[in-house]
């Protein structure tokens, strides 16, 4: 290379943050690690998933933890034809808002539907967890949701 050409190099900037999750999200993540889906009871008895420490409408402390799922309903979805390297699946999938059985709010996650013709608003889906040994207490402990009956 000529002396007066610019060099190039790859450069990675990475911050290894870890955040404290608090008692309620901590319980939710612990549940994921154990293969359970957990919500929390808010003001008026509604069940919030993922759980929050405070009711989003009244600001009051939320109450007891409630087990929800493992099935739910697709409220809305968007198809990803060409997944990016760090997205949850390496083949086409849907991002979806899923209202789990027993919940009053929807959870954002992935539906491994195969093709965009195999998912529709109102469809029933069910959770597919990673193998127990691979679960660490993270949203990624849920590998994906899948159309009910196909799991």
């Amino acid at each position: 290379m000529a002396e007066h050409e610019a060099l190039h190099a790859s450069h990675v900037l990475e911050y290894p943050y870890s955040r404290s999750v608090g008692p309620v999200i901590g319980a939710f993540l612990t549940g994921l690690r154990e293969g359970r889906l957990t919500g929390v009871r808010g003001a008026g008895g509604s069940v919030i998933v993922p759980p929050t420490e405070y009711d989003p409408t009244t600001g009051e402390d939320t109450g007891e933890l409630v087990e929800v799922g493992p099935g739910g309903v697709v409220e809305t979805w968007a198809w990803v034809e060409q997944p990016l390297p760090k997205q949850p699946l390496d083949h086409p999938f849907a991002w979806a808002l899923i209202r789990l059985d027993g919940a009053d709010t929807a959870l954002l996650h992935v539906v491994d539907a195969g093709d965009p013709g195999s998912i529709a608003t109102g469809d029933r889906v069910t959770v597919r967890f990673r193998p127990e040994a691979d679960r660490v207490g993270s949203m990624a402990d849920i590998e994906a949701f899948v159309p009910e009956g196909s799991a």
């Binding site: 002396e3 007066h4 050409e5 610019a6 060099l7 190039h8 190099a9 790859s10 450069h11 990675v12 900037l13 990475e14 911050y15 290894p16 943050y17 870890s18 955040r19 404290s20 999750v21 008692p23 901590g26 319980a27 993540l29 612990t30 549940g31 690690r33 154990e34 933890l65 127990e132 207490g137 993270s138």
Partner: protein
């Protein structure tokens, strides 16, 4: 509250790893590429301003005083003068050098700009302004176009430089 029953005796989840990672294709530009290629040969390369004659190392490709391109490449000496310094006693995340260590501004002979260097082979309480130092390079096989090619600076055997010779560079 959380159900504390856990698998494999692991406690409840209290933290979540949330790393942030950015992948860059970095280019230092033409002028700094001259500097970096020099490092790969074990040499310090700077550039001279055609108007004021000052030599910048590493050069950014233009003179900040005159605003003109610096087109003349200049090879600098392997020795220089400590203009100012800092002794690092505080450990921090990712620290790769054993504390205490000396971080100094080194003005290479022939240059009009100092740059930061690590000073070794001297007790930290003996460092002083004006101390003459020389660059110690990695083995020739390990030279790369990176400042990692310079292992550190160490005292040369010369007497200290006069304050007058570096007072403009503090």
């Amino acid at each position: 509250m959380a159900d504390d029953s856990t698998i494999e005796g692991r406690g409840p989840v209290t933290t979540l790893a949330t790393p942030i990672r950015l992948d860059f294709d970095f280019t230092p530009g033409i002028a700094q590429s001259v500097f970096l290629r020099g490092l790969a040969r074990g040499r310090f390369m700077g550039q001279r301003c055609p108007k004021c004659g000052k030599v910048y190392v590493p050069s950014r490709g233009s003179c900040p005083t005159d605003g003109v391109p610096t087109t003349e490449d200049v090879e600098l000496a392997n020795v220089g003068t400590v203009t100012t310094y800092c002794v690092v006693n505080v450990p921090f995340a990712g620290q790769s050098i054993e504390i205490p260590y000396i971080c100094a501004q080194v003005l290479l002979d022939g240059a009009n700009l100092s740059f930061m260097g690590l000073i070794q082979e001297i007790p930290t309480d003996e460092i002083r302004m004006g101390m003459r130092v020389e660059a110690v390079w990695v083995d020739e096989a390990d030279l790369t176009p990176s400042l990692a090619s310079v292992k550190y600076f160490r005292p040369s055997s010369e007497p200290d430089a006069d304050y007058e010779s570096y007072k403009e560079y503090l």
